[in-house]
C-alpha cells in the first residue's frame, strides 16, 4: 500500500515537472531495447541496435521529447529466449517506459508474458504472425508479416499466368515460417505447389534439390532463406541451367545477396521493403522522405548500407517518439497513443494501428524488385 502511494506520488511529481516545462533538468525517458546483437540472428540485431541508438541520439540532439532526453538501454539477447526474458525482466526493474525488440519471433514470444505482467508496451522487430495475432493489448510490431511478402510473389505469378511452383526453403525458423505461409496462401491464388524441398542453413550444395525440381512440372521456383543459402541456390540453378524464373524472399533483400550470387543473380525477383530502392521511388511515394533520411544517416554513421532490419528499429523508435509527443511518457499513455497511430509513413511501410490490428501494415509494404545489371530495379 505504501509502495503504491509512493509510486503515485512519483507519477504525480513527474507529471508536474512535465507540465511546468523544463524548469528542472528532467530525468531522461528510459527506453528498453532487446536485440540479438550476437549469435545466429546477429544480422537482425546488429543493424537494429545501431539504428535505435542512432535515432535516440538524433532525438536528443534535437532537444529531446518535450524537453526530456531519451536514454536507450539496450541488451543483447543472443537470439536466446531465456536470455531475452532475463533481459526484459531487468529492463522492467530499471523502469523503462517501453521496450523495442526483440529481433526474432522466438525471443518476442518469450518476453510477451513479461511485458504484459509489467504493463509496458513492446514494439517487436520480428516478423512472426503469432506476435500480434491474436492482438495482445501491450504488444505491437514493425516488421512486415511474412504472408504479405508471399502475397506479393503470388500476385506476380498470377499476372504471369503461372500456376505450378516448386518451393525450396531453409530449415530454420525463417524458412519454416515462409514455407507455412506459402502453403497456406497457395489455394487463394489458385497456385499448386508441385514440390516442397528444404535445405539446411549450413548446406553448401543444393544441386540435388534443384535437379529434382528441374525434372518436375514447376513453372517457377520460390526459395525462402537468408544469406548465404539463397546465393548458393542461385549459383547452383545457373550451373544446372534451370530455365524457370527464380523468386527469392525479402530475407535476402540487400546488395550483399547480389555480391554473393554474382552474375547468376541476374533476373531474380523478390519482394522487398522500399528501403532497398529508396532512390528509385517516385517523389509521390509517402515513405520516400523517411527512407532517404534513414538511409543517408545510417550510411554517414556506420559506413554501411541501411537495410530493412535496421528499418524495423527506426520505425519502432519513431512510433514511440510520436506516441510520447502526443500523450506523454508513461507506459499506459504510450500504449493508448500507439494504438491511435494512423498514416505513419516509416521504413517498413505506412502504419495504421487500431485496437484490432497491432501490426499495422498491408501488402503495399512490399514492392517487387528485380536484379538487373548487378543492381535492384523496381518491377512495374
Amino acid at each position: 500500500m505504501v509502495k503504491k502511494t509512493a509510486d503515485g506520488l512519483i507519477l504525480l511529481a513527474t507529471l508536474l515537472i512535465l507540465s511546468t516545462g523544463t524548469v528542472f533538468a528532467a530525468p531522461p525517458i528510459k527506453i528498453g531495447g532487446l536485440f540479438s546483437v550476437t549469435g545466429p540472428a546477429s544480422f537482425l540485431g546488429e543493424p537494429e541496435r545501431n539504428t535505435a541508438q542512432m535515432v535516440a541520439d538524433q532525438i536528443n540532439a534535437a532537444g529531446g521529447i518535450k524537453g526530456r532526453k531519451v536514454e536507450l538501454i539496450a541488451y543483447d539477447t543472443q537470439g536466446d529466449a531465456t536470455k531475452a526474458v532475463q533481459a526484459a525482466t531487468r529492463l522492467v526493474k530499471e523502469g523503462v517506459v517501453a521496450i523495442i525488440g526483440p529481433s526474432t519471433t522466438g525471443d518476442s514470444m518469450a518476453v510477451i508474458p513479461v511485458v504484459e505482467r509489467a504493463k509496458i508496451p513492446l514494439i517487436s522487430c520480428a516478423a512472426g504472425i503469432k506476435i500480434t495475432e491474436p492482438v495482445k493489448p501491450w504488444v505491437f510490431k514493425t516488421a512486415q508479416n511474412d504472408y504479405l511478402a508471399v502475397a506479393r510473389i503470388y500476385e506476380d505469378l498470377v499476372q504471369r499466368k503461372m500456376t505450378r511452383v516448386a518451393l525450396l526453403t531453409v530449415s530454420d525458423s525463417f524458412g519454416s515460417s515462409g514455407r507455412e505461409q506459402l502453403k497456406a496462401l497457395a489455394s487463394r491464388y489458385k497456385i499448386t505447389i508441385v514440390s516442397d524441398d528444404t535445405y539446411g542453413p549450413k548446406d553448401t550444395d543444393m544441386t540435388p534439390q534443384l535437379t529434382k525440381i528441374r525434372s518436375g512440372q514447376a513453372q517457377a521456383l520460390i526459395c525462402w532463406g537468408t544469406n548465404p543459402g539463397p546465393a548458393i541456390v542461385t549459383r547452383n540453378a545457373r550451373q544446372l541451367s534451370l530455365k524457370i524464373p527464380l523468386y527469392m524472399s525479402h530475407g535476402v533483400s540487400s546488395k550483399k545477396f547480389i555480391a554473393l550470387a554474382g552474375d547468376a543473380s541476374e533476373g531474380i525477383v523478390l519482394p522487398s521493403g522500399r528501403v532497398l530502392v529508396a532512390d528509385l521511388l517516385p517523389k509521390s511515394d509517402k515513405q520516400k522522405k523517411s527512407l532517404l533520411a534513414f538511409v543517408q544517416e545510417y550510411q554517414k554513421r556506420f559506413k554501411a548500407e541501411g537495410d530493412h532490419f535496421g528499418g524495423h528499429a527506426w520505425d519502432a523508435m519513431m512510433l514511440l517518439k510520436g506516441a510520447m509527443e502526443r500523450g506523454g511518457a508513461t507506459p499506459a499513455a504510450i500504449r493508448a497513443q500507439l494504438e491511435k497511430t494512423r498514416n505513419f509513413a516509416g521504413i517498413g511501410g505506412v502504419f495504421n494501428f487500431s485496437p484490432t490490428d497491432h501490426s499495422g501494415l498491408t501488402k503495399d509494404a512490399f514492392v517487387l524488385v528485380q536484379v538487373k545489371g548487378k543492381d535492384w530495379v523496381l518491377v512495374k
Binding site: 544480422f43 535445405y199 525434372s215 552474375d263
Partner: protein
C-alpha cells in the same frame, strides 16, 4: 532419370572430395597422436577466409593469396600444436580432444572478430560457364576440386610410403614407443602431422570456397562431415578415408535428391552411428587387435 542420377552422383563426388581431404587431416593427426582434432574444420574456414582477405583487402593475385593462406593456416596449426598439445603430452587423449574443441571455438571466435560475421565469396579459378557431361552439368571449379584432391592424395601416398619422414610418421602411428627407440623424433613427427593436416584443411577450404562461399562459421559442419569420412575409412590416412568421403558425399546427394532433402545431414550422422556401432574399425579394414 539417368541424367538426374548422374547429376546427383557428380554433385556428391565433388562434395565428397572435400570431405575426403578434411577426413585425411583427421586421420593423420589421429595416427600420430591418438587424438581426434576437432579443430580440423577451422583450418578449412581459415583457408577460405584468408584467401578472400588477401584477395580483396590486399588486392593480391589469386595464386599469391592462396599460397599465403595455406602458409598462414599451417602456421596456426603448428602454433596450436606447440601451445596446447605439446605442453600436455602426458595428458589423456580425452583431455586433449576436449582441448581441440576449445581451440576450435577460440579460432572461430577470433576469425569472427578479425573478419566479421559476413559471408564472402571467392572468384572461380577459371570461368563460371557450366560444362555438360552426358546430360549432367559441372562447373570448371568442380574439375579443379577433383584434380587438386587427386593430386594431394597422390602426393600424400608418395610421402607416407616413399620418404623417410613419411615412413617415420607411419612408424609412430604403429607404435610410438618403438619408433622412439629406433631413433625417430616422435615429437617432431607430431608437429609435422599438425602442419600437414592444417595445410590439407586449408586447401580444402580454398578450392571449395568459390562454390560454397566462406564465413567464420563454415568449419563446424564441414569438420563433422570430414570426421564421418575418416570414421568410415577407419581413420586411415590413405585411400579408405577418400572412399569414405566420396561415399558420404554421394549418399547425401542421392538422399537429398531421391528421398527427402530434410534428411541430408541425418544421412551423414546415421552412417556415422552405424559405422561406430557395427564396424568401429572402419568399413574396409579387417578387425585388428589393439594398436598399442
Amino acid at each position: 532419370m539417368s541424367h538426374q542420377i548422374l547429376q546427383y552422383i557428380l554433385s556428391g563426388l565433388s562434395t565428397g572430395a572435400i570431405y575426403s581431404l578434411i577426413g585425411i587431416g583427421f586421420a593423420i593427426i589421429y595416427n600420430s597422436t591418438g587424438i581426434i582434432n576437432f579443430a580440423q574444420g577451422e583450418f578449412v574456414m581459415l583457408g577460405g577466409i584468408m584467401t578472400w582477405f588477401f584477395l580483396s583487402v590486399f588486392q593480391l593475385p589469386l595464386i599469391a593469396a592462396m599460397v599465403l593462406a595455406i602458409a598462414l593456416s599451417t602456421a596456426v596449426g603448428v602454433l596450436f600444436e606447440r601451445l596446447t598439445i605439446r605442453p600436455l603430452r602426458n595428458a589423456s587423449p580425452l583431455i586433449l580432444v576436449i582441448i581441440t574443441i576449445g581451440a576450435s571455438i577460440l579460432i572461430r571466435g577470433m576469425a569472427m572478430l578479425i573478419w566479421g560475421k559476413d559471408t564472402h565469396s571467392l572468384p572461380m579459378f577459371t570461368g563460371s560457364e557450366p560444362l555438360t557431361v552426358a546430360g549432367a552439368t559441372l562447373l570448371p571449379q568442380h574439375l579443379w576440386i577433383f584434380g587438386i584432391t587427386l593430386f594431394i592424395i597422390a602426393v600424400n601416398r608418395f610421402y607416407f610410403h616413399h620418404s623417410i619422414s613419411g615412413k617415420a610418421m607411419r612408424a609412430c602411428s604403429h607404435n610410438r614407443r618403438a619408433a622412439g627407440l629406433v631413433g625417430i623424433d616422435v615429437k617432431r613427427m607430431v608437429l609435422f602431422s599438425f602442419a600437414i593436416s592444417s595445410a590439407l584443411g586449408s586447401v580444402a577450404g580454398i578450392i571449395t570456397a568459390p562454390l560454397t562461399m566462406t564465413s567464420y562459421d563454415v568449419g563446424i559442419m564441414l569438420g563433422l562431415k570430414g570426421f564421418c569420412a575418416a570414421i568410415i575409412g577407419g581413420m586411415s590416412s590413405g585411400i579408405a578415408t577418400v572412399v569414405g568421403g566420396l561415399l558420404l558425399g554421394v549418399l547425401e546427394s542421392l538422399g537429398a535428391g531421391m528421398v527427402s532433402s530434410g534428411y541430408k545431414d541425418a544421412i551423414a550422422f546415421i552412417i556415422l552411428l552405424l559405422i561406430l556401432v557395427i564396424r568401429p574399425q572402419g568399413l574396409f579394414k579387417k578387425a585388428e587387435t589393439e594398436r598399442v
